[in-house]
């Protein structure tokens, strides 16, 4: 039986931890002890918090390493980390610590940031709420997606990767339960890389996927 797709929404608030690092060694020391919520904020939270959408980097660690430590090597290593492939935050924490350890071992000097350019560890609190909106027919989503809040897009397309088997998006998981009919659409949705885009761009991409599948717009371009 089709249980319908319940739209949830979320909003994030940032909380200062008061912990900051001036150089890579201090950064490593803090990584060992900071609140696990810091990893969520610095990897995912930027999408929901006021910031400049950096075209190069998808996490705050990579931005700091590049812009303030001026250590391109470790910045690139941070940049390619896909946080969704780690089973939990502690695994992600361990991975980052190992990258830093290795860099410290091979560097002759500890990379430093100037005064005022320290890395500030921030954690987040996320409030998830039901919108009360449920869709039973996937076709309805063609109209619904452009009107979804960015919080809903984040929850169902980004946060979902931590909650679902195979690190997927919620819509694909729901469509799969409806039978083979939507196989093509699921393939397209699963292939969407949610990184290096803003949430509004991501919303557009999902909308195009639905439009194309339901042939509303033959050339696949949004008007």
């Amino acid at each position: 039986m089709n249980e319908g797709f319940n739209i949830s929404d979320c909003a994030l608030i940032a909380i200062a931890t008061g912990e900051k690092a001036q150089n890579l060694r201090e950064f490593r020391d803090h990584l060992r002890t900071v609140h696990p919520g810091c990893f969520y904020y610095h990897f995912w939270g930027g999408l929901l918090y006021p910031h400049f959408n950096d075209p190069e980097f998808q996490n705050d660690f990579a931005v700091w390493a590049s812009r303030n430590l001026h250590d391109q090597k470790i910045s690139e290593q941070f940049a390619v980390i896909d946080p969704n492939i780690y089973s939990d935050i502690e695994d992600l924490r361990q991975e980052i610590i190992e990258i830093v350890e290795e860099r410290l071992y091979e560097s002759e000097h500890v990379p430093w940031a100037k005064r005022g350019q320290e890395f500030h560890f921030i954690r987040s609190q996320i409030v998830i709420f039901e919108t009360g909106i449920t869709y039973t027919d996937p076709r309805e989503l063609v109209e619904a997606i452009p009107n979804m809040s960015l919080g809903s897009i984040f929850f169902h397309f980004i946060d979902s990767r931590r909650r679902t088997e195979g690190h997927r998006n919620d819509i694909s998981v729901w469509l799969e339960g409806l039978g083979d009919e939507y196989e093509e659409l699921i393939k397209v949705l699963d292939k969407i890389d949610p990184y290096f885009t803003t949430l509004s761009e991501l919303r557009n991409i999902i909308h195009i996927a639905f439009n194309n599948f339901f042939k509303k717009i033959p050339n696949g371009k949004l008007t």
Partner: protein
């Protein structure tokens, strides 16, 4: 949907307003009280002017009160403000006594509201001591800090900290400003109101007429700094930059300042600025009343470049306003400006009058870059710094505090 929310939906999008309504649902009927020290002038008053009606329209029983005091109270709080921003300025005991006495008197006047509110937001140092008197409070109290406290003068911060530490939580504009305190410290950058007189789109004719009325010439590029006459805004440094530019290209400068009723130093700085500007007909020092919102809008909209050469800045809402008008902004590399100005994207961050002069010349020479940066600037504010985003975060904060302290809070719809 009520009319005010509808109007915001037309700028920020319907989905943004829907989300606010969903978030506000659990808070319906709740009494939320905001306290600051002025109804006019300054970014805090401007935001509260709109935040309160918006919260009301969302079903929250929101109220805004101000504390009042004599001249010595404002003298003390101005010194406090400057010291928190780094000035090494000791505050005499007699002024601190006035500060404490004024807070006590205001507490007595506002006692019932303060004691019965579910949530109280106290803005900045002026009313911070109210909490120390409110022994029978029912609600949660937040101290909202709007200023740059990254390197405070320690004796003054230590004095104030005694009043702040009893709050349930504090809210800061940037993580760099956060001082060690033993309660949750939230980060919420401020925002601008796109529907206010200061930020809505004005008819072109009105802009031209207003610029004409101040003697500003149409065919010479205009650079403008709008801010209080305050040394931290470095108005003299702006004039120095202007003079460096003028050697190469014709340019006009506007320094426009509105006074705030809680700033006793304004006149002194204004006199300094006028003396430094001399008789240059292309420097326009405009003293504007606190309600000159359309005039400020016209100045920003009619300018080619916006300057905010602050040496210290809490957030810098005049920067946000300039960006919202689609103008590149050249601003001091300090405080919240760092969140807003991305070099070569929305403007330039500078540290000296020379740096500002160089960037002004660059932008005046490259109109295409100016236009592109201006477009980026407006989009950047639309995505990040409108009042709807700030309201969302205030609501999230309150929901978070009321429904648990975990990293992830899941709210279920009430069952019918």
């Amino acid at each position: 949907m009520g009319s005010l929310l509808e109007q915001y939906a037309s700028v920020a999008g319907h989905e943004v307003i829907d989300q606010l309504q969903q978030l506000a649902n659990p808070l319906r009927g709740m009494k939320i009280l905001h306290i600051n020290s002025t109804k006019e002038g300054g970014g805090v008053a401007e935001i509260l002017n709109r935040l309160i009606p918006l919260k009301k329209e969302l079903g929250i029983d929101a109220e805004w009160e101000i504390i009042t005091g004599e001249k010595d109270f404002y003298l003390c709080t101005k010194k406090m403000h400057n010291s928190l921003q780094g000035n090494r300025d000791d505050i005499p005991d007699n002024l601190l006594s006035v500060y404490e006495k004024t807070n006590r008197e205001n507490y007595e006047r506002l006692r019932e509201k303060l004691e019965t509110a579910d949530i109280v937001f106290i803005h900045d140092p002026q009313p911070a001591a109210l909490l120390s008197h409110c022994n029978n409070r029912k609600g949660k109290w937040f101290w909202r800090c709007h200023i740059d406290v990254s390197h405070p003068y320690r004796p003054v911060w230590k004095y104030l900290r005694e009043f702040i530490k009893g709050y349930d939580a504090s809210i800061w504009s940037l993580s760099e400003f956060v001082q060690p305190l033993n309660h949750p410290q939230y980060l919420i950058p401020p925002s601008i109101d796109p529907l206010s007189e200061k930020n809505r789109e004005l008819p072109k004719k009105e802009i031209t007429d207003l610029l004409n009325s101040w003697g500003i010439k149409k065919d010479i590029p205009l650079i403008t700094q709008v801010s209080r006459f305050d040394r931290f805004k470095d108005p003299v440094g702006v004039i120095q930059s202007y003079r460096m530019v003028k050697k190469y290209v014709p340019v006009q400068l506007v320094l426009a300042g509105g006074g705030a009723s809680d700033d006793p130093e304004g006149q002194e700085v204004l006199d300094e600025v006028k003396a430094f500007a001399g008789n240059d007909p292309d420097i326009h020092v405009l003293e504007l009343p606190p309600d000159a919102h359309r005039q400020i809008n016209a100045l920003q909209s009619g300018s080619d470049i916006i300057i905010q050469k602050s040496l210290k800045e809490g957030f810098g809402l005049t920067v946000t306003e300039g960006l919202w008008k689609g103008k590149p902004v050249i601003a001091g590399n300090t405080g919240g400006i760092k969140l807003q100005i991305i070099d070569h994207y929305t403007g330039f961050r500078v540290t000296t009058p020379e740096g500002a002069a160089m960037r002004i010349r660059y932008l005046l020479k490259h109109p295409g870059t100016r236009k592109r940066m201006g477009e980026n600037a407006r989009q950047f504010v639309l995505n990040n710094y409108l009042i709807t985003r700030q309201l969302r975060e205030y609501l999230t904060l309150v929901v978070g505090l009321l429904f648990g302290s975990e990293d992830k809070i899941e709210l279920k719809l009430p069952s019918h």
